[in-house]
């Protein structure tokens, strides 16, 4: 399959178009043919607009034929989670309730990708209202893991994880409030980053929880993610949380030695109830970092159970406020697995919500001191287990739904509550052939460092180059 253009990484496909080695039309034809073949098995797309994508590819080639330089992602096919609004287009948010709602604005992140020439081929499946970590969706059909379609891809950015892993598109934007970029990235064997709060604008993106919503790129390599980050990161006055902290050239910063880098290994919580295959993969990846010259330092993470509960409290309260009208008037239009975890949010006292919010500052300070004061980055499993089957994670009952959804964000929501950046990196495979990911957590706005550490790891390993046998 090495001659198949869909197997090129995002940077390689972009560079091959810019250098006129391949035309945008050639790339788009290969992309649409692969989607046509694999969509029935993976169900990564909610909507596809192949005609518009081909028109855009022809226009991209016409620009190329005029000579001169073209922007960074000129003619590159992409697709994103169906909660990024584009004016005049339906954004379903994976829900029945918004199935026919047309957006009246365009997300800042999409505008920035448009400006560098990326071409959207369609919109991607996701958990209903971004509210589940599994990828089940009874409204648009369950999204499936390309490594084994009996298994979940993870969520809530399920279509982004599955589409990139299946080589349907080379890059995608997902959203991450408690792990929704990192969980599917980990379970599908790709690279995905949750940026620092305020790093990437959420304007024109469906809210899940205002406090912790973030938007992040998902692609096969750290270099691909770095290129996308360089495009979408940066201040936006239309997002009140947006930060004006300067944006580095993430791709140019790749390649720095890891000699002397201090990698924190958690002595508590993140090694509890972890599947044996995940433990082996964590140990193996840490040995790779040691070979690269990094120093492993054991750290005790201050009360992750508390940050998990406080994160859950804020999420439940904000989600209930967002969905109050529909939960009262159209409860049966929600999947039970989506509705049930929101209901407790109605009854959280305002004082407790405010306490959970104001504790973020002091708890973040404590984390920066006790964890990221000792280590440069923290190394964690992305999740406690490889992807279970769709049947085993079936949210058919309220009880199982809440149990399932509590499991997947166990190692990701703790970091979301603190607002820190974290990247999920492919770190091996379980004995059943499914991918395992690890997370690297960094200091505020240290995305460049995380991307470099992930990139150096990928220069030494080949996990990110493995492709599912579809």
């Amino acid at each position: 399959m090495s001659g198949d253009l869909t197997h090129l990484t995002l940077c390689d496909v972009a560079d091959s178009i810019r250098s006129r080695k391949h035309s945008a039309v050639e790339v788009m034809e290969a992309t649409l043919a692969r989607i046509d073949r694999l969509q029935p098995a993976v169900n990564a797309f909610i909507a596809l607009d192949g005609d518009a994508a081909m028109d855009a590819a022809r226009a991209a080639d016409k620009t190329l034929s005029n000579g001169g330089d073209v922007p960074l992602l000129h003619g590159v096919p992409m697709a994103h989670k169906d909660l990024l609004y584009r004016k005049g287009r339906i954004s379903t948010c994976g829900s029945k309730i918004r199935r026919n709602v047309t957006a009246d604005v365009t997300a800042t992140a999409l505008e920035r990708l448009d400006a560098v020439g990326a071409i959207e081929v369609g919109t991607l499946n996701m958990a209903e209202f971004a509210a589940s970590g599994t990828g089940h969706n009874e409204h648009f059909g369950d999204c499936r893991n390309p490594w084994n379609t009996d298994h979940i891809p993870g969520g809530s950015s399920s279509g982004s994880g599955a589409a990139v892993a299946a080589r349907l598109v080379p890059g995608s934007l997902g959203s991450d409030t408690g792990g929704s970029v990192r969980i599917p990235a980990g379970l599908c064997g790709i690279t995905g980053i949750k940026p620092t709060d305020g790093r990437v604008s959420r304007y024109g993106v469906m809210p899940r929880s205002w406090t912790s919503d973030t938007l992040g790129p998902m692609a096969r390599t750290a270099r691909d993610v770095a290129r996308m980050m360089s495009v979408v990161a940066g201040y936006d006055s239309r997002d009140p949380q947006s930060s004006n902290t300067p944006v580095p050239d993430y791709e140019q910063d790749l390649g720095s030695s890891l000699k002397g880098l201090r990698i924190g290994i958690p002595a508590n919580y993140y090694n509890e109830d972890v599947d044996d295959d995940v433990t082996v993969a964590m140990d193996d990846s840490r040995q790779v970092f040691q070979r690269l010259g990094a120093e492993l330092i054991e750290v005790t993470v201050p009360d992750p159970g508390l940050t998990m509960r406080l994160g859950q409290l804020i999420l439940a309260a904000e989600a209930a406020a967002l969905h109050e009208k529909w939960l009262a008037e159209r409860p049966d239009d929600y999947q039970i697995a989506i509705r049930a975890p929101m209901e407790p949010g109605f009854f959280i006292p305002a004082t407790r919500y405010i306490e959970a919010l104001r504790l973020r500052g002091p708890l973040l300070n404590e984390f920066l001191d006790k964890v990221l004061g000792q280590a440069d980055v923290l190394h964690l499993p992305t999740g406690p287990m490889p992807a279970p089957t769709l049947a085993d994670a079936d949210p058919a009952s309220t009880e199982s739904a809440e149990r399932t959804m509590g499991l997947f964000p166990k190692f990701t929501r703790t970091i979301s509550y603190l607002g820190l950046p974290a990247i999920s990196v492919p770190g091996g495979f379980a004995s059943n052939g499914l991918p395992i990911g690890f997370q690297l957590v960094g200091r505020p706005f240290a995305e460049a460092q995380l991307l470099n550490v992930a990139h150096m790891y990928q220069c030494e390993t080949g996990w990110h180059e493995q492709a599912p046998g579809l």
């Binding site: 902290t245 009854f347 820190l420």
Partner: protein, 69 residues
Amino acid sequence: MGFSADTIRKMAREVYGIEMSDLRAAEIARQVTELAESARQADCEADFNDELLSARQVLVQAAEEGGTS
């Protein structure tokens, strides 16, 4: 102090217009009590002036101190 299923069911109906079974109200009462108690206990140890220290300030301050390399 915990929440009772009766309180949850009454609030659900009278404040939000949502009907709920006894069993479901009891489960929600358990969850809300656990979450709310976590916040209450942790906040008891916080300093009175902590409301001045937002997470956003800490993120930006840490970046300005050069921790983003």
